[in-house]
């Protein structure tokens, strides 16, 4: 046995989010640059203010197909010669399609930035988007949906988003489109989407890493020629909640039930964001959160259960989520509901201290790398948060009190109006769920 006493923690020193250099390319693209010594892999994110609500309702998925086909060939480097050149530079190109906008992302060793960014720009400005590539990506996307539907956890996520958002909103449906809108998607529609949506206006380029040369000059060479006088300017939508529901998706013979219990939430601009971050960490974010301490560490019902608020640009969602073996799933759900109720058990001062220490402690490391910073700045651009968001949010977290955390939680989490999605064996789960307080359970 160790004779040493538990050592105290020295409080962390001051830290703030790194400072950016801002500039603009000749065509108006905003450039935000972070010079980070020792970060040998450069991260470049090109962010387009192109919300998915800009897709035609009957062509949803067009943004995803367009984004995925960008690196299948360009006019300057047709077909697979494009990817061959890019990969030979040691670069990786990715796309991220979110409700608020599109990102194309480049990772490349610093010494190869100039040629790789040139190729990256080609993919954005002059992709081929051939007939064959579009048709193949539609088929691959349909196969991807089949895989998601065969996966219990992904099915639960899809059913949950369909339930909690206003069914007329784009947010209620998959970012990548649903089978009925994908099936009829033509190469012309994808090219038209690119022609109307992609352009330098309202585009932002974030560059982070240990640059060997002036990154803005490289960016000007690569992207300064980008023009699109026809570029459309779709507005960011407001997203509202759906009606409360209880859904059981039948998965015959499943050994576990995937549970989602939650509802419509808030975005980061809501004054309650810091308070709800602290409260949800205490209820279901920490390892010994109220939920995990009981359902995992005391009962052994699950590998892990968590509560998370997921912000969108406007509004958001929250859920308690976990996977429980079938014979204890209903008990786990009842217990989770009890633990989610702060009535008589408000957030404590210790819980606030622990949450604030955790968030402030993990932050510097999260933003110590090129991709960590670029990813965060892209999120900020897409959510309209401003460059000093991380520092402001840390200050707001430090100012959180047990009362403000509890108030935020109680104003958002109405225990009697939670939407429930369970994916599991309905033969074993349906009756016990109805008896446990879900008489309106819909089994699909």
């Amino acid at each position: 046995m160790s004779a040493l006493q538990q050592p105290p923690i020295e409080p962390p020193g001051p830290w703030s989010f790194p400072t950016a250099q801002r500039s603009q390319l000749s065509n108006g693209v905003e450039v935000i640059t972070y010079a980070l010594p020792g970060q040998h892999v450069i991260a470049a994110h090109l962010i387009m203010d192109l919300p998915l609500s800009a897709e035609d309702r009957e062509r949803e998925g067009v943004a995803t197909i367009c984004a995925r086909a960008l690196d299948e060939g360009t006019r300057s480097h047709p077909g697979e010669t494009f990817a061959e050149h890019l990969e030979t530079e040691g670069a990786g190109l990715g796309v991220e399609v979110s409700l608020a906008g599109l990102q194309t992302i480049l990772d490349v060793p610093a010494s190869h930035l100039a040629p790789a960014l040139e190729l990256f720009a080609e993919a954005v400005i002059e992709p081929e988007l051939t007939e064959a590539d579009v048709r193949r990506h539609v088929q691959l996307r349909l196969a991807e949906i089949e895989q998601a539907r065969a996966n219990s956890s992904q099915t639960a996520n899809l059913e949950f988003r369909a339930a909690i958002f206003d069914p007329s909103s784009r947010a209620s449906r998959m970012n990548g489109g649903e089978p009925e809108t994908l099936t009829g998607l033509t190469p012309d529609a994808v090219r038209a989407f690119h022609a109307a949506g992609f352009g330098p206006r309202d585009a932002t380029l974030v560059l982070a890493g240990d640059f060997a040369e002036d990154p803005v000059a490289i960016a000007e060479t690569a992207l300064g020629r980008w023009q699109n006088p026809e570029q459309s300017h779709p507005a960011q939508p407001r997203i509202g909640p759906g009606d409360q529901k209880s859904i059981l998706v039948h998965r015959p013979g499943a050994v576990q039930a995937d549970v989602r219990l939650g509802g419509f939430g808030i975005d980061r601009l809501d004054p309650r964001w810091a308070g709800i971050s602290v409260a949800s960490y205490a209820v279901g974010g920490a390892f010994l959160s109220r939920l995990n301490a009981v359902l995992r560490e005391e009962r052994g019902y699950t590998y892990g259960v968590r509560m998370q608020f997921s912000p969108l640009r406007t509004g958001g969602s929250y859920a308690v989520q976990g996977s429980f073996r079938t014979d204890v799933a209903v008990d786990a759900l009842v217990e989770a509901r009890r633990l989610m109720d702060l009535g008589g058990a408000p957030i404590t001062a210790d819980e606030v201290d622990d949450a604030v220490a955790y968030f402030t402690g993990v932050t510097p490391l999260r933003y110590a790398t090129a991709d960590g910073i670029a990813d965060q700045v892209a999120t900020q651009v897409l959510a309209g948060l401003g460059e000093d968001y991380v520092d402001r949010n840390l200050a707001a977290l430090r100012a959180t009190t047990p009362e403000s955390a509890t108030d935020a939680y109680e104003s958002l989490v109405d225990i009697d109006r939670l939407t429930l999605v369970v994916v599991g064996d309905a033969d074993q789960l349906a009756d016990p769920l109805r008896a446990a307080g879900y008489p309106d359970l819909a089994v699909t």
Binding site: M1, A3, L4, Q6, P8, I9, E10, P11, P12, G13, W15, L36, P37, G38, H40, E80, A83, E84, E87, T88, G90, D107, V108, P109, S111, H112, R136, Q139, L140, L142, A143, E146, A150, N151, V255, Q256, A286, F287, L288, A293, R296, E297, E298, R299, G300, T302, Y303, S323, F324, R325, D354, A357, T360, G361, P364, L365, A368, T369, D371, G372
Partner: protein, 434 residues
């Protein structure tokens, strides 16, 4: 078009080593960019050290390590660390178990104290209740990650095809439900005493701390722990490739999966020989990335597969392991897909990669490796890995130049010795018939 490939610049991450009197190896790698430190402990024990009838035990034990020790109540290791602003976790794999926390520098002493307390006194706090609770948690993990997931049993089936059942790599880390049920308190005690020794561990401290300071703190918290007899190594003789050609393992299975699939596996040499690096590049050229042979031919050109890739799993105990797979597009017969996949294997074996493919493979390796070392937590893990399994943490700085020396003739020789359709195991995954 040819041009001289740019050799990667040598890396210069600072690395200092120190060994405590009890045999604990301590590695320090200072980096003051962020006010954070990464603490990372590699123990030289993984699923390959498990005994028959006790599969899954090393991983179950990893869970027990969070159930408290003499001065730390159950669950408090993570709770105290999170309240110090730490990211905390542990993982178990074939060759090792690692425990790690990354946190603001002011919590370094607490992290070391917590790690030392459980290494010195885990069994003082162990109870039947704790063991039973974590057994249930691990069974839930197995259900969530393997049993309730399409194709979730593939790795287990491939491992079983590729290695004999009594081989150290003949079973997966998660183990079987029956063996998890059979684990007793006595097993936990014996396992702890046998493997959890300072002289069977590597402690890495990377980040905002100077090496001498780190070594001093390691001495403070770990210095009084006694060494023990090093456990015997499991079988480490290298097995030959699968074969002969008329006796290749083949299995068919089915499940509730949306697409049929073919998997092909190979026994490979251990990761500590240059042949492995050559094969690692070969597998990348076969199946990693958009320009890989499998993606180009099966997904892009022939449109037979919805996805296709290949990968190597580097292991230290005599052999490694590699596999390739393809999932069939709607309406494609899995036999046709298998034939197309094997045609790519044949072509790569017969003609080898092109110069450009090799250069591309090295360039991609470079980016992944630099990315791996970009954060102090994954850098600490890499240092622990190379110290534990290959005996030298400095290899993280020379890794790129080593890989860069692999030329086409070395790949051809390694492929001739280990690769090809005559040395494979095959798993066909079909859809359940309604």
């Amino acid at each position: 078009m040819t041009f001289a490939p740019a050799a990667p610049a040598p890396l210069r991450y600072p690395i200092k080593q120190h060994r405590l009197d009890n045999g604990l190896r301590v590695i320090a790698s200072p980096d003051h960019v962020a006010p954070s430190v990464a603490v990372n402990l590699w123990y030289g024990v993984g699923s390959r050290h498990e005994e028959p009838g006790r599969t899954g035990f090393a991983h179950l034990f990893e869970h027990v390590m969070f159930q408290g020790s003499a001065n730390v109540p159950s669950g408090q290791h993570i709770a105290l660390m999170q309240a110090a602003g730490a990211s905390v976790n542990a993982t178990t794999w074939f060759d090792r178990t690692n425990y790690f926390e990354t946190l603001p520098t002011g919590g370094l002493d607490l992290a070391l104290w917590l790690e030392a307390d459980r290494l010195s006194s885990l069994l003082d706090a162990l109870t039947q209740d704790n063991l039973d609770n974590q057994r249930e948690v691990v069974k839930e993990e197995k259900r969530q990650r393997y049993d309730n997931v399409p194709y979730g049993d593939v790795l287990e089936r491939l491992i079983t095809l590729t290695f004999p059942p009594d081989h150290p790599y003949g079973h997966t880390t998660i183990g079987s439900m029956a063996d998890l049920d059979a684990a007793t308190l006595a097993d936990v005690g014996a396992f702890f005493r046998r493997y959890y020794l300072p002289n069977n561990a590597v402690l890495t401290i990377a980040g905002d701390i100077e090496p001498e300071d780190g070594f001093g703190r390691a001495e403070t918290y770990f210095g009084s722990l006694p060494a023990g007899p090093l456990p015997p190594s499991p079988q480490e003789d290298s097995m030959p490739p699968l074969g002969p050609a008329d006796d290749l393992p083949r299995e068919e299975t089915s499940g509730p999966v949306p697409a049929e699939a073919v998997y092909v596996s190979w026994r490979l040499p251990a990761r500590d020989v240059p042949e492995f690096d050559a094969l690692d590049l070969l597998f990348g050229i076969l199946g990693h990335g958009q320009t890989s042979r499998l993606h180009k031919k099966l997904v892009r050109e022939a449109e037979l597969a919805e996805s296709a890739s290949a990968t190597c799993m580097g292991l230290i105990g005599g052999n490694s392991y590699g596999f390739a797979y393809a999932r069939a597009r709607d309406g494609v017969e899995v036999e046709e897909l298998e034939a197309a996949l094997l045609a790519e294997v044949d072509a790569l074996l017969q003609d080898g990669p092109t110069e450009v493919e090799l250069r591309r493979g090295k360039a991609q390796y470079e980016r992944h490796w630099l990315h791996e070392l970009a954060r102090i937590d994954s850098r600490a893990d890499a240092l622990g890995e190379y110290a534990t399994l290959l005996g030298d943490p400095h290899l993280i700085n020379t890794r790129l130049s080593e890989v860069n020396t692999v030329e086409l003739d070395a790949i051809a020789a390694a492929a001739a010795a280990w690769f090809g359709r005559d040395r494979r195991g095959t798993l066909i995954y079909r859809k359940d018939q309604p």
